[in-house]
Amino acid sequence: MCTYQTEKLALKGSGKGPAGWFSLSRATVYFDHPAHYSAEHSLNIDFLNLDDGALSRVAVELDPASARELARAILETLPAVPEH
């Protein structure tokens, strides 16, 4: 199935795509068919800058357990960082 479950969020930071580093403006997070990972569905994240066009994209396709581990690792790392 196409789940169509999608979260969009604005963010600040940088990513490195096929054309080099670029400024990020948003991410989309969705559980749907992967383009490359061999599974029927995966947790996909696109880091984008839509002002720059389609080449400004960093993509990951993760199995759900890996995605949860990634989220846990991020949340465990951040408390050591001062709030901005």
Partner: protein, 247 residues
């Protein structure tokens, strides 16, 4: 009839007189052929969709698959283009109709055209095939597991599309629907609701739902591929187009 064909990338005039790229495949045999506009799935204008386009030519049809993401992401890889279009809310319905109209016009203007034209679409293209058939004079249309003909995208989805089942009264041609019984978008309930609308409007249609198959069972490069469903589905398509496209 041989399976000799020629395939190439062409440019055609779509919605708003925009020039968009498209994958064209034509039989090399002499004669006149029916035409098929292939509407690609949400992952975009990729290798799988181009293979399907060439398959139609090998079976004796003029076929073209327009890149519906040409405008947002010219020259980008299919997955990058799909990510951008997804983030922007999908392809607007009016633009889709204009692009399909341009693709149909392109095919029927070819010297080898017999003047008949159909659409077939997969995934999001299934809904768009139905939309085109309710908006344009066509000879046949195929909806392969198209979501949101009935029903709406879940809360929070960026897709700016809604149900179009109310357009059923305007359907201009026979409709073939091929669905997976395990799919959720469209679910068996969505398919049943569309079938009821077709009955109420006294339209000609033929639906097949495959047990053990979910979404994208035609996609040979994905784990969702279900060979038995796909083989039967292709047979239904050849019979349907043979009946209505005269090729």
């Amino acid at each position: 009839m041989t399976d000799s064909l020629r395939a190439e990338t062409v440019r055609l005039t779509g919605h708003g007189s925009d020039e968009i790229e498209a994958h064209l495949a034509q039989p090399l045999d002499a004669g006149r052929f029916g035409s098929v506009v292939v509407i690609h799935h949400m992952p975009g204008w990729d290798e799988g969709m181009k293979e399907i386009t060439r398959k139609f030519a090998a079976h004796g049809y003029l076929a073209v698959c327009p890149n519906l993401y040409s405008r947002e992401a010219p020259g980008a890889s299919p997955d990058d283009a799909a990510a951008v279009v997804r983030a922007l809310g999908g392809v607007p319905d009016d633009r889709l109709v204009g692009d399909v109209q341009g693709a149909a016009r392109y095919l029927t203007s070819l010297a080898a055209s017999n003047g008949r034209v159909a659409t077939i679409g997969y995934c999001s293209g299934g809904r768009q095939s139905f939309l085109a058939a309710c908006s344009l004079p066509l000879d046949a249309a195929v909806d392969c597991y198209g979501a949101f003909v009935v029903g709406t995208p879940p809360e929070g989805s960026p897709l700016k599309i809604g149900p179009i089942v109310h357009l059923t009264k305007d359907l201009s041609c026979p409709l073939l629907g091929l669905f997976g019984a395990d799919d959720q978008y469209p679910s068996p309930q969505h398919v049943a609701e569309l079938e009821e609308a077709l009955k109420q409007a006294a339209k000609t249609y033929e639906f097949h739902s495959y047990e053990g198959a979910g979404h994208a069972f035609f996609a040979t490069d994905r784990p969702s591929y279900r060979p038995e469903a796909a083989k039967d589905g292709w047979q239904r398509i050849w019979e349907f187009f043979g009946r209505y496209l005269g090729s």
